[in-house]
């Protein structure tokens, strides 16, 4: 069974995100970059499924050569090989999905595993778009994945409960927070990762039109909520809730 897992280089979720002075984007100097946490869960899931079913785990990133660091992290966790589609320009989800489609057509995986969303742009689009381009089924926001007899059964985190869907293979699945807890890379894993194959593909060689359909034209800090008042005790709090805020 072959798994293709996408890995995006993003700002650390613990980093304080600040706007540049000219508001053209966010400050990335000195900000730690990590593998998108939901992608890390997807890598972990692929490794566990491989332990069960055998096969291969291929990790894929789109970005500048800086993304090699995140691909190496995935290799250190245990992925078998990596592909980097080199691109320094801006992409929207439509462009990302088209690039992924090209790689999927070449690699022919049984399952594409992705994080449910990247924690930078929070778009939550590319996986579903990829599934549609391929004409495949999808299981988004996966909580549990069972692969059996040419099908994947996915328990999904849905509004108000858990939904189960069944997809024939191949399919696209996205990882939600509680799918698993990713392993730490071992020291031998990190050593081995340095020698694992990492192919680089130039975006221009894929012959795609990735002209932006969606462009971020402005960044701002959301209106800060006015910090309110401290109250000394319960009686004051209840009084203010009743008379001032009229909330009770």
């Amino acid at each position: 069974m072959k798994f293709l897992v996408t890995v995006k280089r993003v700002t650390d979720y613990e980093a304080k995100i600040k706007l540049k002075a000219d508001k053209s984007g966010i400050v990335t100097d000195g900000v730690n970059m990590i593998m998108n946490p939901f992608d890390e869960i997807a890598v972990e899931e692929a490794l566990r499924q491989k332990e069960k079913h055998g096969g291969e785990v291929v990790v894929l990133s789109i970005g500048s050569s800086d993304s090699v660091a995140q691909l190496r992290s995935a290799l250190a966790m245990g992925a078998d090989r990596a592909i980097l589609v080199k691109n320094d320009g801006e992409l929207d989800a439509n462009g990302v999905a088209k690039i992924l489609q090209k790689i999927v057509e070449k690699e022919a995986p049984d399952v594409v595993l992705m994080g449910k969303q990247a924690i930078d742009d929070d778009n939550n689009q590319a996986a579903q778009m990829l599934a549609e381009l391929l004409g495949w089924g999808q299981g988004t926001f996966a909580n549990t994945i069972t692969i059996d007899g040419g099908n994947a059964t996915i328990v999904r985190e849905a509004d108000g409960g858990l939904e189960t869907v069944k997809c024939s293979l191949p399919c696209v699945i996205t990882a939600d927070l509680r799918l698993n807890e990713p392993r730490y890379a071992s020291l031998p894993g990190i050593m081995k990762a340095k020698k694992k194959p990492l192919d680089e593909v130039e975006l221009s060689s894929l012959g795609l039109n990735t002209t932006l359909k969606v462009k971020v034209v402005g960044y701002e800090e959301p209106a800060a909520k006015q910090a309110g008042q401290k109250v000394p005790d319960v009686a004051t709090l209840v009084h203010k809730l009743k008379t001032e805020a009229k909330a009770i």
Binding site: Q138, A158, L162, A245
Partner: protein, 315 residues
């Protein structure tokens, strides 16, 4: 002139109210509003939507009886093409997020996810970086697909009932199917539409804290119960109690945060609440920066007092 198609979400034969936020956003652009309801036996849902649309298209077909992204996306895209839609909208609920990107790429359309404001017919504002940054996005494709953050748009005004027309749905071949749904059963209001939410965090020290501190207060206020990501991950409370960027985004009239430090990702999910009360023994906790009323105290001491005082105030 814009032509809008609103994708209705429904459950148990009733319209999911979040759908109306999409109507409200479309009204801000202006133009003709159509809506589409997919499923079987959906007459009541169509009737509920009729006051908000010129035409409600009903797509009844065994292939779309249960919601599944692949067959639904095809039918919605077909309908959008048939009416010449310039904008296709849905609520940014779990269902909308699952479904709408497929609709977008089928229409070769750009998509703006989870928008918080409409700037004009092709420009929208949306939270990025877990709500730390608001981005303005311009969508340049002829058709635009947009999902709308329900808490950011007030319910639209109802108009004269529009016509209800059958749409000949052809779901095509699907590689996926719905199997089952396991609803979380609760006597409390749902987080997403509760008027009051009492939420707990790590300060409660364990699942017992939710039982002895949070639940009695929620009972008095007929409130829904929320939680921080840390306590959901720790298994103290069910996953779907999580409020935050990775959980539910809520905006009740009153939000009481008990023993919650106020991590960025939690605040992103509740800062739209009308009145926020924070109770935490740590005076520097970031939750106090968004709270209207902060009480620096040992929650195990003051919360039972507060519950009693609220009971008395309500009596």
């Amino acid at each position: 002139m814009a032509t809008h198609l609103i994708v209705a979400e429904h459950t148990g034969g009733k319209l999911v109210k979040a759908t109306l936020a999409a109507v409200s956003a479309a009204q801000k652009v202006g133009g003709t509003i159509h809506a589409i309801v997919l499923g079987q036996g959906i007459g009541d849902v169509a009737a509920e939507l009729a006051p908000f649309a010129a035409t409600v298209h009903t797509a009844e077909h065994p292939g779309v009886k249960d919601r599944a992204a692949q067959p639904w996306a095809k039918v919605i895209a077909d309908a959008a093409t048939a009416i010449g839609a310039t904008h296709v909208w849905a609520a940014a609920t779990g269902a909308g997020k699952d479904l709408m990107p497929r609709v977008a790429i089928r229409l070769d359309a750009g998509m703006a996810s989870d928008i918080s404001a409409v700037v004009n017919d092709s420009t929208f504002k949306r939270p990025m970086w877990a709500g730390n940054i608001t981005g303005t996005v311009a969508v340049s494709s002829a058709t635009k697909v947009i999902t709308v953050r329900p808490t950011e748009f007030a319910a639209p005004a109802a108009g004269a009932a529009g016509t209800i027309a059958a749409f000949a749905a052809d779901p095509g071949a699907s590689k996926m199917s719905f199997v089952s749904f396991d609803a979380v059963v609760s006597d409390r209001p749902a987080l997403s539409d509760a008027r009051v939410i009492v939420a707990g965090g790590r300060g409660l020290k364990g699942p017992e804290g939710f039982k002895t501190i949070v639940e009695p207060m929620a009972d008095v206020l007929s409130a829904a119960i929320g939680a921080s990501r840390a306590v959901c991950d720790a298994g103290w409370v069910p996953n779907d109690w999580q409020v935050g960027q990775t959980g539910k985004v809520v905006a009740p009239e009153l939000y009481i945060a008990i023993g919650i430090s106020g991590a960025i990702q939690h605040v992103a999910g509740m800062k739209g609440s009308k009145c926020i009360v924070a109770i935490n023994k740590e005076p520097e906790a970031p939750i106090f920066q968004v709270a209207d009323y902060g009480l620096v105290a040992d929650l195990f001491k003051v919360c039972p007092e507060l519950t009693e005082a609220l009971k008395a105030a309500k009596a």
